[in-house]
Amino acid sequence: MDKDIFEKERQQVLQSWPTGKDVDFNEAVDFHQNLPSEKVFSKQLQKALDSGTILLQPRAGVALVDEHIRLLSFLEDYADLLPTTIDAYTRQNRYEDAQKGIERSTQAQRSLLNGFPAVNHGVSACRKIIESLDKPVEVRHGTPDARLLAEISLAGGFTSYEGGGISYNIPYTKSVPLERSIRDWQYVDALVGKYEEQGCSINREPFGPLSGTLVPPCISNAIAVIEGILALEQGVKSLTLGYGQAGNLIQDIAAIRALKESATTYFGQFGYTDYQLSTVFHQWMGGFPENEAQAFSVISWGGVVAVMSGATKVIVKTPHEAMGIPTKEANRDGLLTTRQSIRMVSDLKPLALKDIDLEQEIIKEETKALIDSVISLGQGDLAKGAVLAFKAGFLDVPFAPSQNNVGKVLPIRDNNGAVRLFDTGNMPLSDDIKTYHRDRIAERAAYERREASFQMVIDDIYAISKGKLVGRPK
């Protein structure tokens, strides 16, 4: 992004809500420079990368500042990295509604918002959070226009920022044009780059799981890599690429391994060498079982697979997942279960399985087909290419609400539980790949003695919440 344009736009952004005026970049740089390394996201990630361990991070956010600090202080003992999950009004820039939520929450003495309205609370409230805690804190949200939120929270001392122009549009919005959200996220990345120029390290994490629902790895990996490049282009240096557990052990391990490799390849191809790359594994992001004992099983399996995949961090679910925003105790329990799982399997050697290698090659090949189509559509301009690719359905996220999304792609599990493409929509995959998916699904259909169909898709959507991986009949 052109610096002048950026700086001009900054003035507008900071004026779009009263709390914007408290942002003072130079003072913020000072604050960041004085943060001890325990509070800096990328430094903790680097330690994990170096030692081959995996870091645990929950999701958490409530309406009121002191409540939120109490919540995070409580979770800090069980987590390695902390979140501040932003409420859904702020995500839509509906700060008046967020204000209403704050007031109602103050009255009701409980949070009526599903997250922390950081913009309304402003810079000093963010500082209070960072100062109250001894671990790094990330802003986690789902905001298509996250410019003001970034300004306030980064000035507030947060050292990691989740999201991206695609991943915070397609699953999170209905009618925000993709060109706009990508553009607004170039701003965010440029802001991060501005901090990086001053030696303040801000980690960026594109949102991997997308709709969280039977997303084939190639789709999320392609988008993650593209958002990674878009971020690098603006000066981002520390990147965490994400993936949401799909459910089949082999495929999940292969997906994280493929993600690292595809990213490294393309980042190099685009001329980037000076960056820190880590990965994040999201425990199962689809519908959870309502029963807590069953939910514990889903969570702990997610912990196991996260370790086996070699991811740098794992985002942890809670036994309340199917029911509502967790209490702090439920959140702690999710962390405890996950930690136990992780520490019980972390001494295992990486699984050397041919099936994983095969799956990994397939995912990389598919991902390459998707990314290359974006590159060629954009004639080298990835932002433009991504917009055109979504229009054409070359990129297509299953079950996403956005009107930018063609929505033709339909996933179905194969007989081993791996997510395959029942309908490849317009995605530019080779015939070999298409045949591979068709065959795998046919195998299952034969086994279940029924046709692959939308009913099978629905069965798969419900499966985990009904206590199984594959949505078989009966």
Binding site: D97, G101, M323, G324, P401
Partner: protein, 146 residues
Amino acid sequence: MDKMQVVLGVIGSDCHAVGNKILDRFFSDNGYSVTNLGVMVSQDEFIDAAIETGAEAILVSSLYGHAEIDCEGFRERCIERGLDPIVLYIGGNLVVGKNDRAIVEKQFLDMGFDRVFVPPNTELIDQAEILQEDILKNRDLSTRAI
């Protein structure tokens, strides 16, 4: 007999799309003509669509926990805009947090919803029949009112 008209959507700033797609399919497969507004639907958008299509029921989803705020005055607004009687259903994870189902149900019944579907009561089984009964009851009422 003509298919009964219903309007479906996810209210507020809520982006949860998966359940919505399944509900669309479920009610369509079970004899209704569904106008699906998708996610992020405001009260007035629901009402506009209901008026436009002559719908006899509005099926609201809310997953993200803000239904208390988003649904405030929804029944009153319907009446105000002439939708009376109209069947109002709501389902999903209505409030923030894991709460006692009975309390949440009562809260939304008090707000004027005819039925409230919160977990573990969200599985789609006989909702199609129940809806038909409720619509027919309303028709009956309207006839008698005349």
